[in-house]
């Protein structure tokens, strides 16, 4: 058997094990649990909120601002990773540069906070 196929064999074993784990635990549950169905239980689970209205309903504009804040900080982190991996190599110079970068990023957060964006009304 070639090296490649052997590597895939591991994946197959993993898949089988994962399938078995799910099957066994769900099967055990089905055998052991009491059965008392109700309309409430059949409802779609939506983080504890009742699912009301169409699935294409509009979401709050506030989600947009939060999502945007998340995306901005998430993406800017891409500049921090290369520095973090070579922390000792870049030394004091890198530390100072990155501090300036992070302080300016933090100013953005400060701005969002002062403008009341972070408060969920």
């Amino acid at each position: 058997m070639s090296e490649l196929l052997r590597a895939y064999l591991t994946v197959v074993v993993f898949l089988a094990a994962a399938g078995m784990l799910v099957g066994v635990s769900l099967g055990m549950g089905r055998l052991l649990r009491p059965k008392r169905p109700s309309a409430q239980k059949a409802m779609t689970y939506e983080s504890g909120v009742d699912p009301v209205g169409s699935i294409f309903g509009q979401s709050q504009v506030r989600y947009y601002i939060f999502a945007l804040l998340f995306v901005m900080f998430d993406v800017e982190a891409v500049f921090i990773f290369p520095w973090a991996l070579g922390l000792e190599v870049y030394g004091v110079f890198g530390l100072v540069e990155m501090t300036i970068f992070i302080v300016i990023l933090a100013l953005g957060l400060l701005y969002a906070w002062r403008k009341g964006v972070l408060r969920w009304v």
Binding site: P82, L85, G86, E88, V89, L107
Partner: protein, 504 residues
Amino acid sequence: MDVLSGPVAGVFRAPDVDYHAFAPELVLVAVLVAVLVVDLVLEGRGRRLVGGLAGIGLLAAMVPVLTLAVDGANRSMVGGAYVVDDFALVFKGLFLIAGYVTMLLSSDYLADDDYYEGEYYFLLLSSVLGMMVMASSRDLISIFVALELLSIPAYMLAGWRKRDLKGNEATLKYYLLGVFATGVMLYGMSLIFGITGETVLTEIGSKLQGPGASLPLVSLGIVFVIVGFAFKISAVPFHSWAPDTYEGAPTPITAFLSVASKAGGFVALMQLVFIGFLGRDDVWQPMFWVLAALTMTVGNLIALRQTNIVRMLAYSSVAQAGYMLLPFAVAGDLAKGPGAAMGPMTTYLLIYAAMNLGAFALVLAVARKTRSGEIASYGGLFEYAPGLTVLMSIFVFALAGIPPLGGWYGKLVVFKTLLDANTPWAIVLGVIAAVNSVIALYYYASVAREMWMRPVPDGDTTPVRVPAGLTAALSLCAVATVVIGVYPQVVARFGDLAVFSLLP
């Protein structure tokens, strides 16, 4: 080497940072941060303070520009990607002054409006910072970052009047076309990078003169990059956003966009074309020929039938961009080398900045009383505001290129470049430009006729009150326009400086 796998231990050496060379940008960044923090702390109570701080910041950034100019040395940093030479300094000075004049125009305009926010100054300074960086960028990556740094705040400024539908439309059109143009430009940059494997312009320049430079892929890349910047300088057929954005945006921002943002685009084009693409004039020269001819003609013809002064000035600034493109179209045929085309362009840009900023400042001053942008509302301006009438006449006739006002010298040097090239194509272009100058004179003169000869439309002859900031901006532009016209050696000197320092 994979960036994320980390650098090889021990080989990293901190780059030598020349703080003097970076000083103008550093000052501007410090002021930018201060403006943001002060506005957040005072929560909009310190309007005058924030505005004053931003203005002082722009002037303070001028100081290191001057000391660098006195010092005179060419400073090249980050492997040639960031260069501070006379070319960069001339334009940094222009951007700072244009930014300051915009501040002067804005202060009372904002106070009258109920849209004041401290972010206005923050965004304006960010945009100026982007232009400053652009003037020194000699690398594809830094040109891209500078372009975005100057554009993104400008998108927001264009839509400053949030509840005004025209303002919304202005910003939407500007944004969509601007971002699309950036995408096209980036695609072109990726092709050029692909052929040369370099991002620094001087390296690209030397590779594009060697073998392999004649690949069609290179031509495609150059065309895409130039198209991207043609949007920025609103050259026809990529100008469609300009009149709508100029009309819908707040007038000070219109002045800023039509002068500083356009100059930013030209600076980038000059650096790309005269350093990076120098060896491929067979690609860019015909392209600029077509762009220049179309831009002048279409801009002037549509300007003829405008009834709104801001739209007329918008099309006029489109047409002016056409005159500025003329030297590009003949650069390859100049006896002194393509770089000789840069002097006339720089000269024209500097003169254009003074007269166009002045014209928009005057539109602002008159609109304070008439509350209208129609050219007809200028009727009989001489009866109640003789000072403004004289100033407006200076600006429009300067734009038309009548001696002894600034504009004529710009036109003279541009036409002289065409004659120096002395090819049939250059002569044809010269004829087109000359015809266009005559067409342009017609609509510029019609504004003057309205002011001097027509009666006041509504009979209201109460004088116009012009606030101090606006007066200062108007006088600055008027003095510059007249002085340049009478004593053109001033700007010619700047134009020459810009040429010789850039060429290798």
